[in-house]
Amino acid sequence: MDALRNKARDLLSDGSVQVVIGYGPGSVPDQARAVFLRRPEQVGALFFDDRCHQNLAVYLTKPEVKALGKPAIVGTPAILRSILQLAAENQIADGQVLALGVDGDGRVTELPDFKSIEDFLAPLPADLSPQEQEQLARIEAMSRSERWNYWIDQLSCCLRCYACRAACPLCYCGRCAVEANQPQWIPVAPHPRGVLEWHLARAMHLAGRCVNCGSCAKACPLGIPIHLLTQMLSQEVAKRFGLQAGRSAKREYVLGTFKPDDAEDFIR
């Protein structure tokens, strides 16, 4: 905790960054919230422990936060993976963000560029949590109709509030496909077809781009486990194409890459 605060104080004092994005006390004792520190005397608000699960990388592309100047950001593995994926998609430039790698022992590692983030992440496991693996296995074991019914039931409560989209660092589009209305591709209403089409579109757009942070499901006010859709697709992409989002700043995007030597015939 002290190491993090000291680092933040130094960075703000010597002007290397204009804002430190981290976690501070939330509404209730067991909750953390994002804080945007701009003065050295504010660093006392920072802490880091297991309450800190929101993916703060979502703020790196928010115009109001970008306007504050160069950020340092507290970097959990999920946040660091998000930064690399944003880099791979040309949303942030090398050196534009200073990540502060944190670990359970309270050590803070300055990660000034993408290479250092890649190296920091390389030895860390990127597996899904045991709970997520168990949930995915259970869904995979279902028959096709059971799986369909499971999702129709889960999605029946969806309000189309887009908290999932807003919480996702990779959902940074200025105007989402769901908001295009000339023509309107996806119905706006939260009727069953509208909800289904929204979640299919979201999952497919994140296929191979999702960094498995789980923020979408944590943001869902109804607790719909929608992270399983994109995690399932991540696993599929890893298995079939050997690509894993958020491991490299130069990673290819599986749905946007063409290779003349592709193993599949139909594409040539």
Binding site: F36, C161, A189, S215
Partner: protein, 340 residues
């Protein structure tokens, strides 16, 4: 107010009587981690304990999606069929006193100038059986917005869980009396005169002084930096508005093909950037700070000026479920204190 006693174990018999008489009953049910209002037939289907339901019951009177009309193209003509609303008399059971008050807020919007036949018809056919709060959490702030854990405003019947097996029943309106009349044998007279329910009610501390907040809002409107700072962590989703029992904004959309289509309305939120996007491409609210200001000003200033009531009942859902921990009561408190 007339008081009666209802055994908790008699609620099932009450439901059966109401169902026999053609009533639809909606109550709080578990759905995964959430508690939402669904059609119920027996008390066992309802969630046993909850401080507050995840969703408010507003969809009973203001569905999240609602067809308004159908149209079809016939030569150069358009044939329009207005959607005819048919409503079954409905009891909402187990909502909290804050939610019961929210229906008057919605009604103020939907009968402001145009009388919204969809909303009004549903509301006229809805009876509110509220259960007082004996527990609360740090997000509750009903007492700061003129409500309370045992407040009868907006309810037809108010049930207070008086001990392990009995509800104190307060008959608030004639509609409530009509429910009692369906099964008078279940509602025993309260022995020994007026029963004091206060001792079992939740203790919800007052967070800010309403009059001070309302008075200061027009003065801070132009303080862009203040709103920007509060909204820095806001992600700009619609969860707060969609969970709010008193938010009434909706979008009107068409779904059509070459033969015709339907026009419907569905919930919308001032937190979403598209909410104010003009056809020209201009958006008068370009930042989340401006959108957050709109949310606060609309609920506590404009609404009060135009309709005589604020548009918040202190249920705390907007804050409890916010993915970025935007806490309305905390920010209102900060506002009320700036005016001091």
């Amino acid at each position: 107010m007339e008081q009666r006693l209802l055994k908790r174990e008699s609620v099932g018999q009450l439901f059966a009587k109401l169902a026999d008489a053609g009533w639809r009953i909606v109550g709080p049910c578990r759905s995964g981690e959430a508690v939402v209002f669904k059609d119920v037939h027996a008390p066992q289907e309802m969630a046993a304990d909850y401080v507050q339901t995840t969703l408010s019951p507003k969809s009973v009177v203001f569905p999240r999606y609602e067809l308004l009309l159908r149209y079809r193209f016939e030569g150069k003509d358009v044939k329009i069929d207005d959607e005819q609303i048919t409503v079954v008399p409905t009891v909402i059971f187990g909502l909290r006193p804050c939610d019961a008050r929210s229906l008057a807020v919605l009604n103020a919007v939907f009968s402001w100038d145009y009388q919204d036949v969809f909303f009004k018809t549903r509301l006229e056919n809805t009876t509110i059986i509220t259960v007082s709060c004996t527990t609360s959490d740090p997000y509750c702030f009903c007492t700061s917005v003129n409500g309370g854990p045992g407040d009868p405003q907006g309810s037809d019947l108010l049930l207070t869980p008086f001990d392990a097996d009995e509800y104190l029943v307060e008959i608030v309106t004639d509609r409530g009396r009509a429910i009692v009349d369906q099964a008078p044998e279940l509602f025993a007279p309260a022995a020994g005169g007026e029963v004091n329910k206060v001792r079992v009610l939740a203790d919800v501390p007052v967070r800010f002084e309403m009059s001070r907040l309302v008075e200061c809002l027009p003065r801070v409107f132009n303080d862009e930096a203040f709103w920007a700072e509060q909204a820095m962590r806001c992600l700009g989703c619609g969860a707060c508005a969609f969970l709010c029992p008193a938010c009434a904004c909706f979008d009107i959309q068409d779904e059509a093909d070459r033969q015709g289509g339907v026009r419907y309305r569905c919930w919308d939120s001032c937190g979403l950037s598209l909410f104010t996007l003009h056809t020209s491409g201009h958006n008068p609210r370009t930042t989340q700070g401006q959108r957050w200001r709109q949310r606060v000003m609309h609920k506590f200033s404009y609404f009060k000026d135009r309709l005589g009531t604020i548009a918040c009942v202190g249920c705390g859902r907007c804050s409890r479920s916010c993915p970025a921990d935007m806490n309305l009561a905390e920010h209102l408190q900060a506002l009320a204190e700036t005016s001091a």
